[in-house]
Subunit: 732 residues, 2 copies
C-alpha cells in the first residue's frame, strides 16, 4: 500500500518525539513545587490560564464549525472542492490547539518548580525550565509530523484516482487544507493570546511601575496574576500553535511542490520527492532529542557558559541535520541531491543571519539599542522616534538575506535555470523545511524563556530571597538571546514557506480547472496548452499574473493594506484592553483599602477577566479578515488578483513584521539597559521615558509582529483551499 | 513644425499663470509689514530660510553635476542612452528648485504682512495669506508647464528620427528624464527641509513647551526662529518642489503612454493623445485663476464661511475642469473621448475620497482623533499605541479607493478590455493628470497654511495683541482642513503616476533594446516578436515579469524594504538633530543669563545652524539610496527585478505613507483637541501625554511620510533613465 517502507521512519520518529516529551514532562512533575505560597500562586496562574484557554477554544470552535460547514457546502453543494477538506481542516485546527494546550499545561506546572529549583542553584533552575521547554518543542514537532503521517495514510487509502502520480498530487494538495486548519487556529491563538498578555502587561506596568512605583510582579499589583497568565497564553500557547503551523505548513507546501515538480519523473521518484521534506523533519526530531541531551552544565557555571551550553545543543543539531540532509537525499536517490541539499544549507544560513541581525539590533550589548536608550535623555518622544527609526532600518539585513536565500535556493535546486520554476520553487520550500527541522530543540530554547519569566513572577510574589529572583532573571535574559535566533528562523521560514505556497496555489488552480471540466488553456494569441500538461509559466501567461495587470496591482495594494490594517486592529485591541486594565487597577488601589500595605489581597480575577474579555472580542475581526479578504479577492478579481494579494501581503507583511519585532525588542532592552544602572538607572527620568518605549513595544513584538507571520501564510492557505471557488466563479 | 496650432495653448496658459503669480506677488509686497519689531523678526526668518536654501542648493548642485556627468558617460561613452538626458535632467532640477525658491521668497515676505493685516481683521489676513499661497500655486504649475512646452519644442526641432510617430515616442520618453531631475531635487528639498523643520520644531517643543513651560513661538525660546524658518524651508520650499515634481511627472508619463498607445493610429491622433494631458493641465491653470478670484468673503465672516469661501473656489475649479476635459478630448477628436474623460472624473473622485478620509481620520471633529486624545488619560504610551493603530487602520479607505479608481480608470479608457493594456494605462495616467490639473488653486489653499503659521509666530514674538494671534491661529487651523484634501490629491496622484511610469519604463526598455541592436524578442517556446511591434504584454512574457519569477519577488522585497529603510533614515535624522537642538536650547537656558526674564536675546542663529547642519548631512544618504538602489537592482537582476522593485516600493510605500501621514495628523489634532479645553486642557497630564504623540507625529507627517511620495516616483524615474544600461548590462 505504501510504495516504500522508508515512509515508516516518519511516524516512528514523531512517536519517539512524543515519548521523549512525555518523559521530560513526568520528570519535571516529580520536582518539588516549593512552599505553600508558591503552590498557591502557581495554581492561580494555572487556573487563570486554563480558564482563558477553554474560553478561547470555545470561540475558536464555533468559528471552526462555521467554516467547516462552509467548506462542506463548497465540496458537496457546489462541487468546487475536494470532499476531504472539512475534515482535514478540523484536524489541523485540533492538533494545533492540542500542541498549545500541552505546552501551556507543562509551562504552568513548571514555573513554580523552576523557581523552587533556582533556590538551590542557577543550574537546577535551568534544567527544569529547559526540559519543560523541550516538552513543548517535542510536542509541536511530534504532533505535527504524526498528523501529517496519519493523513497521508488515510488519503492514500481512500483517494480514488487511477493514475498513481496524479493521485500523489491530489493527496498532497488535499493535505494543505489541514495546514489551513492549523493556521487558522494559530492566528486566533497568537492574536487572542497576544492581546491578553499585552493588555495585562501594559496595564500592570503603567499603573504599578510608573504610577505606584512598585516593582514588577509585586503581589500588591492587581494585574500581576493576569500578567503571568498572559505569558502562558500568549508566549507559550500562542507560540506553540504558531510554530506548529509553520512547521506543518512548510512540510506540506514542499510535499505538494515535490509532487508536481517530479510529476513526469515516475511514481517512485515522485513519491521520494514528496516524502523528502517529511524525512528531513523526522530525522530533525531525532537529532533535536540528541541536542537536548547535550545541553548540560557543570555546577556553578557562569552566564556565558550557560549560553554556550544551550548554543552547543542547537549548533550540534543544526550541523547534524545539514549533514543528514545530504545523506537522506542521496539515499532517496534524487537527481542532483547535492545541490538540493545545498538549498537546505542556504535556508539554515538565512535563518542564522536573520537571527544574528535580530540580536544586533535588539540586544543592549550593541550600539543600536544603546542609542535608543541614549535618546531617553530627551524624553519619551525621542525614545519612540529612535526606536521606530531603528526598527525600520533593521529590515535591511533580513530582506537582503532572504533575497539572496531565495535566489540561491532556487538556482541550486533548479540547476541554475531561472526557467525551471517547479524545481526552483521546490528548492525554496525545502530550504524552509531545513530551517525548521531542528524546531524540537530551537523551540525548547525559545519556550523556556516565558517559563523562567513566570518562575521570576512566582519568586517575587512568594517573597523568595532576592538571590532567587536574580537567578530567574538571569535565566530569562538568557532566553531573550536564544529567542532572537528563534525569531530569525520563524520569520525567515514564514517568507520561504509563503513563496512555496504561491506555487502550491497554482497547483490547486490546475486541479480546480480540471474539476470544473476546463481541460485546455487558450491564450490570447490563439495557441493552446492542455491543463494537465501546463506548467507554472503557462498559468502566469494564461491569467496574465504580471506586474502591469491592474487586477494584480490592485491585489498587491490590498495585500499591503491587509498587513497594516491587521496590525492596526490588534494594536488598538491591546490599547483598549490596556486602558480598561489601567482603570481597573487604579480603581482597586483607590477602593480596596489595605492593598498597598499588603493587608488585603487585590482582586486578581477581575483583571484576568478583563484581559480575557478584551482578547476574546478583539481577536474575531482581524482573524476573520484574514479569511474573508482572500475569498472576496478571489471572487471579485480571480486568480490574478489573489496572486497579487498574496505577494503584496508577503512582501509588505514580512518587512512590517521585522520592523515591529525589532523596534519592540530594542525598546524592551533599552529599558533593561537603563535598569542595569546606565544613564541614571531605575527611577530616573530617562528610565521613565524608556518605560514608555517598552510599553509601546509590547504589542509590537508580542502581538502584531508575530501574528503577521501567520497572517501571511493563512491568506495563502485560504486561497489554496478556495482555489476551486475562484476558478469557478469570479467577477472580473 | 508643430503639427497642430492647438499646441500653443499650452505655453500661453503657462505664461498667463506666471503673469498672475507676478501680479499677486506685487500686490502682496505693497502691503505694510507692520512694526519695526515685526520687520526685524521677519528679516531673521527670511535670512535664516534663504541661507539654508542656498546651502541646500549648493549640496544638491554638486549631486546634480555628478549625476549629469554620469549620464553623459552613459550617453556618450557607453551609448546606452539618449544624448539629451544630462541636459533635460539638469533643467528639471533647476526649475523644481526655482519653484521652491519663489514660493519661499513669497512666503517669507508674506508672513509679517499677514500678521499685520490680521490686526485689522481675519478677512484681511486671509486675503494676504491666500493670495501669497496662490503665488506659489501658480508658479509651480506655470513653470512646470512652461518647462514641458520648451523641451517639447527643443526636442521636436533637434531629434533626428525620420518616422514621425517614432519621433514622438523618442521625444516623450526623453522628456521623462526632465522629470527625473525634478524628482531628484524634490526629494532633496523634501527630506532636507523636512529634517530641518522637524528638528527645530521637536527641539523647540520639548524644551520650551514641556520643560520650561513657555508658549509656542515665545521669543525667549532659542529654537523659535529655527522653527519658523523650518516652516518655510520644509512646508513651503519642500512642498513646492514636491508638487512641481508630481505635476510634471504625471503629465510626462501620460504623454509617453499616449505616444505608445496611439502609435499605430497615425501621427495626427498620436500627437493629440500626447498633448491631451498638457492641454488639460493648461486649461486647469486658467480655471484655477478663476477659482482664486472667486475666493472672497464679506467682512466679519465666520470660520465656517471662510472655509466655504475657500471650498467654493476649489470646487468651482474642479467641476469646471471635469467639464472642460470632456470638451478638450471631444475637440481633439480622440476615439471614445467620453470614456477617457470619465477616467479623469474617476481620478478627481479618488482624490476627493482620500481627502475626506484623511479629514475623518485626522480631524478632532471626528471620533478616531478624539479616541487618540482620550487615550492620553493613561499616559504617553497609550497615546502612541492608539495613534499608530489609527494610522494603520486609516490605510483601508485610500487603498480601496485607489484600487477601485485604478480598475475603473483602466476599464473606461480601455473599452472595458483588460487585455488593452496601453489604452488602460493611458487612462490611469490621465486620471492622475486630471487630479492634479487644479493644482494652481489647491496648492494655494495648501501653501497658505505655513504662511499663516509663520504669521502667528511673528505675532507672538512681536508681542501683538492676543486677538491677532487668535486670528492667525484660526487661519492656520483653516489651512489644516484644506491641507487634508491637498494631501489626498498628492498621494492619490503619486500612486496613479507611479503606475503610469511603470508602463513608461517598458517603453524605455523597448527603445533601449533597439539602441543596442536587439530587434527581435525570442520567447522560450521559440516564437518571436519584432521589438518595434511588441506590446506591453509581450514584454511581460519575454522578461517573465510575473509573480513567481524569483527575480521579481526579490525585487518586490527590496522595494518594500526601501520604503521602510528610507523612513528609518529620515526618522533617525530628525531624532538626532532634535536631540542636538534640545541640548543646545538647554545649554542656552543654563548659560545665557537673562533669557527667561526677556532681558537677553537668545542665540537664534546657532539653532538655525544646528538644524541646517543636521539636515544637510542627513539628507544625502536616503536620497542617494533612492537613486542607487534602482540602478544596482537593474544591473544585478535586470528588467524583471526592476519592475519588482518599483511595484513593491509603490504598494508598500503608498500604504506606509498614508499610515505615517494620518497617524501624525491625528496626534497633532488630538493635542489641539485637548488644548481647546477638553480632557483637562492645556497643562494637564493628558496634555503632556498628547504632546509626546504630537512630537512623534512631526517627522511622521512632515518628513518621512511626504518624502515617500517622491521616493516612489523617483525610483521609477531613475529606472526609466537607466533602462538603457539595464538592458545592455545585467548580471542575472
Amino acid at each position: 500500500m505504501i510504495a516504500n517502507p522508508i515512509f515508516w521512519i516518519i511516524p516512528i520518529a514523531s512517536i519517539i518525539g512524543l515519548i521523549f516529551a512525555w518523559k521530560f514532562f513526568v520528570e519535571m512533575m516529580k520536582a518539588d513545587e516549593g512552599t505553600d505560597l508558591m503552590k498557591k500562586i502557581a495554581s492561580y496562574v494555572r487556573r487563570g490560564a486554563m480558564s482563558y484557554l477553554w474560553q478561547q477554544y470555545k470561540v475558536v470552535s464555533i468559528v471552526f464549525v462555521i467554516l467547516a460547514l462552509f467548506f462542506a457546502f463548497l465540496a458537496y453543494g457546489l462541487h468546487v472542492q475536494n470532499g476531504w477538506v472539512p475534515f482535514a481542516f478540523l484536524t489541523g485546527g485540533f492538533f494545533s490547539g492540542l500542541a498549545g494546550f500541552f505546552g501551556m499545561k507543562t509551562a504552568t506546572y513548571a514555573s513554580a518548580r523552576t523557581a523552587n529549583a533556582a533556590r538551590t542553584s542557577l543550574n537546577a533552575g535551568l534544567k527544569i525550565a529547559f526540559r519543560s521547554g523541550a516538552v513543548m518543542g517535542l510536542v509541536v514537532v511530534g504532533l505535527g509530523l504524526l498528523d501529517i503521517s496519519i493523513w497521508y495514510l488515510v488519503l492514500n487509502y481512500f483517494v480514488d484516482e487511477p493514475v498513481a502520480t496524479h493521485k500523489l498530487v491530489v493527496i498532497t494538495t488535499t493535505m494543505l487544507t489541514f495546514g489551513m486548519g492549523a493556521s487558522t487556529q494559530a492566528l486566533f491563538a497568537r492574536v487572542g493570546g497576544g492581546i491578553f498578555t499585552k493588555a495585562a502587561d501594559v496595564g500592570a506596568d503603567l499603573v504599578g511601575k510608573v504610577e505606584a512605583g512598585i516593582p514588577e510582579d509585586d503581589p500588591r499589583n492587581p494585574a500581576t496574576i493576569a500578567d503571568n497568565v498572559g505569558d502562558n497564553v500568549g508566549d507559550v500557547a500562542g507560540m506553540g500553535a504558531d510554530l506548529y503551523e509553520s512547521y506543518c505548513g512548510s512540510i506540506l507546501a514542499t510535499a505538494a511542490l515535490g509532487a508536481s515538480a517530479y510529476l513526469s519523473a515516475g511514481y517512485d521518484l515522485q513519491f521520494k520527492a514528496v516524502i523528502a521534506p517529511m524525512l528531513i523533519a523526522a530525522v530533525g526530531i531525532l537529532l533535536s532529542i540528541i541536542g537536548i541531551f547535550l545541553v548540560k552544565t557543570k555546577e556553578g557555571a557562569t552566564m556565558k557558559q550557560l549560553l554556550a551550553a544551550l548554543g552547543f545543543g542547537v549548533n550540534v543539531s543544526s550541523v547534524l541535520i545539514a549533514g543528514a540532509t545530504f545523506f537522506i537525499l542521496w539515499w532517496l536517490g534524487l537527481d542532483r541531491w547535492q545541490w538540493i541539499s545545498m538549498s537546505v544549507v542556504v535556508g539554515l544560513l538565512v535563518g542564522i543571519v536573520i537571527g544574528k541581525s535580530t540580536e544586533y539590533y535588539t540586544s543592549q550589548s550593541y550600539k543600536p539599542t544603546q542609542d535608543v536608550a541614549g535618546s531617553s535623555a530627551t524624553g519619551p518622544a525621542t525614545v519612540i522616534i529612535s526606536g521606530l527609526g531603528l526598527g525600520m532600518l533593521s529590515t535591511a539585513i533580513p530582506v537582503l538575506s532572504v533575497g539572496v536565500g531565495i535566489i540561491l535556493a532556487f538556482l541550486f535546486a533548479s540547476g541554475f535555470d531561472f526557467a525551471n520554476l517547479s524545481m526552483g520553487l521546490y528548492g525554496i520550500g525545502i530550504a524552509a523545511v531545513g530551517m525548521l527541522s531542528t524546531l524540537g530543540i530551537t523551540l525548547a530554547t525559545d519556550a523556556y524563556g516565558p517559563i523562567a519569566d513566570n518562575a521570576g513572577g512566582n519568586a517575587e510574589m512568594a517573597g523568595l530571597e532576592p538571590e532567587v529572583r536574580k537567578r530567574t532573571d538571569a535565566l530569562d535574559s538568557l532566553g531573550n538571546t536564544t529567542a532572537a535566533t528563534g525569531k530569525g528562523f520563524a520569520i525567515g521560514s514564514a517568507a520561504l514557506t509563503a513563496l512555496a505556497l504561491l506555487a502550491a496555489y497554482i497547483e490547486e488552480v490546475k486541479i480546480g480547472l480540471v474539476r470544473i471540466g476546463q481541460h485546455v488553456l487558450t491564450f490570447t494569441d490563439g495557441t493552446t496548452v492542455e491543463v494537465a500538461k501546463a506548467d507554472i509559466a503557462d498559468f502566469m501567461n494564461y491569467y496574465q499574473i504580471n506586474l502591469i495587470n491592474p487586477k494584480v496591482l490592485v491585489g498587491m495594494f490590498l495585500g499591503s493594506m491587509m498587513a497594516f490594517v491587521f496590525c492596526g486592529l490588534t494594536m488598538n485591541a491591546v490599547g483598549r484592553a490596556a486602558q480598561k486594565m489601567v482603570e481597573e487597577v487604579r480603581r482597586q488601589f483607590r477602593e480596596i483599602k489595605g492593598i498597598m500595605t499588603g493587608e488585603t489581597e487585590p482582586d486578581y480575577e477581575r483583571c484576568v477577566a478583563i484581559s480575557t474579555l478584551g482578547a476574546q472580542r478583539a481577536m474575531i475581526l482581524p482573524s476573520m479578515l484574514a479569511i474573508i479578504v482572500p475569498i472576496l479577492t478571489g471572487v471579485v478579481f480571480g486568480v490574478s488578483g489573489v496572486m497579487g494579494l498574496l505577494v503584496g501581503g508577503l512582501t509588505a507583511g514580512f518587512v512590517l513584521a521585522v520592523f515591529m519585532a525589532n523596534a519592540g525588542g530594542a525598546w524592551d532592552n533599552a529599558k533593561k539597559y537603563i535598569e542595569e544602572g546606565n544613564l541614571g538607572g531605575k527611577g530616573s527620568d530617562a528610565h521613565k521615558a524608556a518605560v514608555v518605549g517598552d510599553t509601546v513595544g509590547d504589542p509590537f513584538k508580542d502581538t502584531s509582529g508575530p501574528s503577521l507571520n501567520i497572517l501571511i501564510k493563512l491568506m495563502s492557505m485560504v486561497s489554496i483551499v478556495m482555489a476551486g471557488l475562484t476558478v469557478t466563479y469570479s467577477l472580473l
